[in-house]
Subunit: 337 residues, 2 copies
């Protein structure tokens, strides 16, 4: 199934989208919002699936689907926990400042608690008061869970995954060092994230979803130029089952919990990757290319985003179909949107 | 007004409680849940106030109020951001390990993003798999906001405060050092928090609420023995308006955001406080007395909580009225509740 939330009120209006992403059917009679569907998934999902089948068979009154009318699938959520499962990304950031990656980072996932009360819509501008804060995108995969019991095992955790989405985990790089130095993790340096228009059930992903990972390139375009296409199935040190189990060690996770992969990042021949222009898979954030520039030349050259810049993030199927729709955001000065 | 949420479904059932805390009126016809009330506060609050007035005047069908039937006022929330506004607490923790408090800690609030998807009810046991994790309570004040615009000034922030509650910010002390060393802040070391049965509007607090602080002793009882009674209005380096403005620097805060004060902690004659048994104001967490024991004798003596231990937290008015009701939790082994 392909689910989306049209902008409406605080929680959106749940719709089921056709396989060709061209039409949709309102799901209001089954569940008014995606959160309501997740709250009662076992009863609701079969009815949404039936509506989806009817839509694809032309048996319901379909309306045109316009992904620019979408909010994030969960416009606000009860939990957004973001992992950093591509340790290559962490290693690069550390290497650039001459620090080693502790051995534990390969065994115990990094994860931070993000703000989940005010997500941006996929086509909504990133409003920021000051571009001196170092505005960066982070292209990621995320999953949305059902109710997960406390202490769930890695073996069991995968079956609580209900939906897959893409994320732009907007980051304010120049606020991060000061904030992390205080020891309490990110807060102001992680403003509102945006999610892809579509949330997909695992069966939609066919063989691209296996081993609790998403095995396709994640495409980022900065100001319309290809910037990253790393394969999300490669170099993911911790899979989503491990991330769910990590999050649930000392508390249950409520239905609608969103867990992110962290910035998708591929190695190249065991070392750091290359830009797309040089034949590499590129990067899923600006910070990473800056680290490589620093390692290679001593100076960071690529600037962070400034007002007027645009980031597009999507993932394409073998036949070119945009699986989740596009996250498409410009950066604008706060108050000028 | 005094609002509470009876346990029902995922979000509770909103009730208005009488001034003597003995009776209540269902608010279902006005707003089914506290979150729904906060989502539309300007329209809903006057109607809840009218119901409250009718209840106190004996003009409505009242039912007996039983705080043990309550969920936390927001059984799940879209945001729980916890400050550490009593820098005395931070100073003690640092002093015990021989570290100074950076000067910036007195100017820029510490705040972490907490999990908000699965709060405990005020009388619900703290279930934990292993008491070797160092189970501790933290008695705090918290406020619940309306919609706060990004970049709100400290001067304006206070007027977005809708309600005041008490919190037990359960902490797993022995998981904290490893987690903070990874640099991403708390996650597993901060399991589900519990909130007081009652959430109060500011007008209920009379002169005890001023300067965006709560000016009354916060009472903690560990296994029924008085453990802490520090005054929440003293030694609060950052008031709630400052905490709200800090949280909203780079993103808006959605209605129903909960912002905590951090562990309430008083100095005594400019130095660390004394236990209640020695004539002091005591402590709002076990970690703090352990720090003082370490500073004074070289060894921490008071153990963290173990299975069977109980913590009670409340705040009393001048005439002995328990303002917010009681947080009353035992620690039990996970699965044995």
């Amino acid at each position: 199934m392909r689910l989306a939330s049209l902008k409406q009120g605080r929680d959106g209006q749940l719709v089921v989208v056709s396989k060709d992403r061209k039409s949709m059917a309102l799901a209001a009679e089954i569940a008014p919002t995606l959160q309501a569907a997740l709250d009662d998934w076992d009863a609701v999902a079969p009815r949404l699936q039936a509506l989806s089948d009817d839509l694809d068979a032309g048996r319901v009154d379909a309306k045109p689907f316009d992904e620019t009318a979408c909010a994030s699938p969960l416009p606000r959520a009860y939990q957004w926990a973001d992992g950093s499962a591509y340790v290559n990304h962490v290693e690069l950031v550390r290497k650039a400042r001459g620090a080693e990656v502790p051995a534990s980072f390969w065994e115990d996932p990094l994860m931070y608690q993000g703000g989940s009360d005010s997500f941006l819509a996929p086509y909504e501008p990133i409003q920021m008061a000051d571009d001196a804060w170092g505005i960066d995108f982070e292209a990621e995969i995320a999953i949305i869970t059902g109710d997960v019991p406390m202490g769930v095992s890695v073996e069991d955790a995968g079956r609580y995954i209900r939906l897959v989405v893409l994320v732009n985990d907007v980051s304010l790089r120049n606020l991060i060092p000061g904030e992390l130095a205080k020891g309490f993790g990110f807060f102001q340096s992680k403003p509102s994230s945006a999610f892809s228009p579509l949330a997909l059930t695992l069966d939609e992903l066919n063989a691209h979803w296996r081993d609790n990972k998403m095995h396709l390139p994640l495409l980022s375009f900065l100001n319309d130029a290809p910037f990253g296409k790393p394969n999300a199935g490669q170099d993911m040190t911790f899979d989503f089952a491990q991330l769910v189990a990590h999050a649930a060690k000392s508390r249950p996770l409520a239905a609608g919990t969103i867990i992110g992969s962290g910035t998708v990042s591929n190695k190249l021949d065991g070392g750091p990757g290359k830009p797309i222009a040089e034949g590499g898979a590129g990067y899923s954030c600006i910070a990473e290319i800056r680290m490589i520039e620093k390692i290679q030349s001593g100076a960071m050259k690529t600037p962070f985003m400034t007002f007027g810049d645009r980031i597009r993030i999507e993932m394409r199927d073998d036949d070119g179909q945009s699986l989740f729709g596009t996250i498409n955001q410009s950066v604008v000065k706060y108050g000028n949107a």
